[in-house]
């Protein structure tokens, strides 16, 4: 698997922009997501209320995190679930692999979880003696292709239908030769069915953890989480501690926000609440159930004033509405979480030093904040990261120099006006028929666009002239 690195952002962007069809493939999904979300919001008059409520639920739980974590643990233990705590991603993925090894597992099925990617679980399995089987259709596609995910809701968004046809023909035991979506889905189902039933261990993520019952909720459209969790003897949940909510009643408004914001659906096909291992009277279910609660930078974010980001319910709306994401796609970000939310999260999961360029790849147009179902002020958070990286001097020196020189001029208005006038004279030299095609020091602009020719002198110059003339006239008239 070729994985981009966050520190190579410039290179990743160039490569992404050079891919001829990428933009079109992304647009197909994001445009549809935008339209469907807008319809869903329009048909849900309580959206704004739900949003405020959702934000409150999250803020409250985050504020009393220690209390709810303790309550969750107590209730999960009471259900017979074994609870593990991991402070880093590595620790978390080691806990999962150790459990699998204790059970001498050969095959593990996994239902889609971005946290699994975050803690490096996919890699850990691929480097182990065990076979990892992704059961979410999109995850199945990228597993066959050997790609990392490029979106948090549609991880295979960067793959076209033509790609999928090819992959399925190559890898499925009994492939379809049709290019119809229903046939392709059938082909994947045939391939996965047997694997579900012969898996030793099922691993899932969690959309919500309910403190008052110790249960975990998963949301899917394919039912693959249920098939991942129920047949194997052992079920392991990995979840970030920010997934916590006090109770089912608190999860509901968030669930309503999540599905509408992600796909525009009122509700997903499968919303399941899992309550520990199989009880004596249960018809099915795992015999053993583990839950790994992962911190991996979350408490640090809380301490650093980034608590708003912990509200994120991973709906993907911010990336669907991001003009930058739409052009460069998810892989360019070089991290598990792309787009606006990723540009805020990655500096905390990796480090600001390696992921500061992403915080600048934003026009501050505010659309992500506008659609975020839990009101995360993404542009403000991005800017605060820029301020941190400015203080730590992570920016390229040339950028720093330009911004600082401009600020030095701007805080001296007389000098600023003088330089503006010289600027106009300078630009005039390079103007032809109202436009500047090239000029020194402006290649960032003129590489891709022309620059309009300025008027003959600055506004201030013209304004002063007119004012002086008026005063003269007034004096004459008055005399």
């Amino acid at each position: 698997m070729r994985v981009n690195k966050p520190e190579d952002f410039y290179k990743n962007v160039s490569e992404a922009l050079a891919q001829p069809d990428l933009k079109m493939i992304i647009r197909r999904t994001t445009d549809k997501a935008e339209t469907k979300r807008a319809e869903a919001v329009a048909n849900f008059p309580e959206f704004e209320n739900a949003r405020t409520q959702g934000q409150k639920v999250k803020d409250h739980t985050i504020k009393y995190m220690d209390h709810y974590l303790a309550e969750f643990e107590k209730n999960a233990l009471a259900q017979g679930t074994i609870v593990h705590w991991a402070s880093t991603g590595e620790e978390a993925s080691k806990i999962v692999l150790d459990i699998c090894r204790q059970h001498k597992a050969k095959k593990v099925t996994r239902s889609k979880s971005m946290l699994g990617e975050e803690i490096g679980l996919t890699h850990a399995f691929d480097n182990s003696e065990m076979e990892r089987i992704e059961t979410d259709l999109a995850e199945h596609i990228i597993q066959l292709a050997g790609d990392p995910p490029s979106h948090i809701v549609w991880p295979a968004m960067h793959r076209s239908r033509e790609d999928v046809v090819k992959l399925f023909r190559e890898f499925h035991a009994d492939p379809t030769y049709s290019e119809e979506i229903t046939d392709l889905v059938r082909s994947a189902r045939r391939d996965l069915r047997n694997k579900f039933l012969t898996s030793d261990i099922g691993i899932s993520g969690s959309n919500f953890l309910l403190a008052d019952s110790g249960s975990s909720c998963t949301v899917t459209n394919e039912g693959n989480a249920e098939l991942t969790i129920t047949p194997p003897k052992v079920h392991i949940v990995t979840a970030g501690i920010e997934k916590l909510v006090p109770s089912m009643a608190h999860a509901v408004p968030l669930l309503r926000l999540l599905t509408r914001s992600a796909t525009g659906a009122e509700i997903t096909q499968y919303n399941t609440f899992h309550n520990g291992p199989k009880r004596p009277n249960d018809a099915d279910g795992p015999e053993e159930c583990h839950i790994v609660l992962v911190d991996n930078g979350r408490t640090k974010m809380l301490a650093e004033g980034m608590e708003a980001m912990l509200r994120c319910i991973r709906c993907g709306a911010c990336m669907n509405h991001c003009v930058v994401y739409k052009h460069i796609g998810g892989h360019a970000y070089g991290s598990v979480y792309p787009g606006p939310m990723g540009s805020v999260l990655t500096p905390h999961l990796d480090s600001l030093e390696v992921a500061n360029k992403q915080t600048h790849a934003c026009t501050m147009n505010g659309r992500c904040e506008e659609v975020c179902p839990v009101n995360i002020p993404l542009p403000t958070l991005l800017r605060s990261l820029r301020a941190q990286s400015w203080d730590k001097k992570y920016e390229p020196l040339t950028n720093r120099f330009v911004v600082q020189s401009f600020a030095i001029m701007a805080k001296r208005p007389k000098l600023f006006q003088l330089l503006s006038s010289s600027g106009v004279i300078f630009m005039k030299v390079f103007s032809r028929k109202g436009w500047i095609k090239y000029m020194p020091f402006t290649s960032g602009w003129t590489r891709n666009r022309d620059l309009i020719e300025p008027e003959s002198t600055t506004f201030m110059h013209q304004y002063k002239k007119i004012k002086n003339e008026k005063m003269k006239k007034a004096k004459k008239g008055g005399a």
Binding site: H360, R367, V403, I408, K411, W445, F459
Partner: protein, 274 residues
């Protein structure tokens, strides 16, 4: 002097307010792009504000709103620029800018860099309260309606992100433009999607910005309008610059204020507007 004392307590301005001709003292912040690239927008703003019954003054010691520093994360630089902007403008009744993004900078962002300086925070908050984007100020505060303006042709409108999302400027320019005789509106597909300008973004990430503005240009061309209008010089320069680079001369970008002040024919004729 003696007269002033004898009038004390009778507040002569009341008489003016009774007649509903309260005078508005407006400080015009022309913004650095208008100052250097397109002074006619500044003069158009003065014309419109005066028509709307304001007294306009342009403080000479103005420079930039501080966005390049702010968006680069240079809080100290932003503060340095903000100090003198506050000093220059805080004593007006209103401060008006012919730009959504610069107005939003003063209205929304100054307070962020003064979190730890209570005295300046209070002054920044006051400035935020009296600051307005030009087109919304004309409609919302002055209830202004342009009169007798004519321009033949059709226009499409680009909503700048700061104007649209941060300041909710949407109806105001359209309302005023609907009074222009001979001018027809052609809606722009994805009108509220960013044009890729983003201040320093467009030079830092020139190639991404280029892709974004390329798409904007496609949408603009699809309207087949004669004019592209907007309220922000940054976006207009960006879209117009891309249109010209691609050889499209059939559509001209103008600031809404230029049209409303009746300067369009002069500008299209190729003369400085002053």
């Amino acid at each position: 002097m003696s007269q002033k004392i004898s009038n004390a307590g009778r507040t002569p301005s009341n008489t003016i307010e009774c007649l509903n001709i309260s005078e508005k003292k407006v400080g015009l912040f022309v913004t650095c792009l208008v100052n250097t690239m397109r002074p006619s927008i500044g003069f158009a703003s003065i014309t419109l504000l005066e028509q709307a019954g304001c007294t306009v003054e342009v403080p000479e010691l103005q420079s930039c709103c501080g966005q390049p520093a702010f968006n680069s994360g240079d809080d100290e630089g932003t503060r340095q620029i903000a100090y003198q902007t506050i000093k220059q403008f805080e004593n007006f009744d209103y401060v008006v800018l012919p730009s959504g993004s610069c107005a939003a900078m003063i209205k929304k962002n100054f307070i962020e860099v003064f979190k730890d300086q209570p005295e300046w925070l209070a002054r920044a908050k006051h400035l935020a309260d009296i600051t307005h984007e030009l087109l919304s100020f004309l409609v919302d505060v002055c209830q202004f309606e342009p009169n007798g303006i004519e321009l033949d042709g059709s226009y499409t409108y680009h909503d700048s992100c700061s104007g649209y999302r941060a300041l909710h400027v949407y109806e105001q320019p359209r309302k005023m433009l609907s009074t222009v005789k001979g001018l027809e509106h052609k809606p722009l597909n994805n009108h509220s999607e960013c044009c890729g300008f983003g201040g320093t973004f467009c030079v830092k990430y020139s190639d991404i910005s280029n892709e974004i503005v390329g798409e904007k240009v496609e949408n603009v061309l699809a309207t087949e309008a004669d004019y592209l209008l907007g309220g922000d010089m940054g976006c207009l320069m960006n879209i117009a610059g891309k249109l010209n680079r691609e050889g499209h001369k059939e559509i001209t970008a103008l600031h809404t204020a230029e049209v409303l002040a009746g300067l369009a024919p002069q500008i299209l004729g190729g003369k400085d507007a002053s």
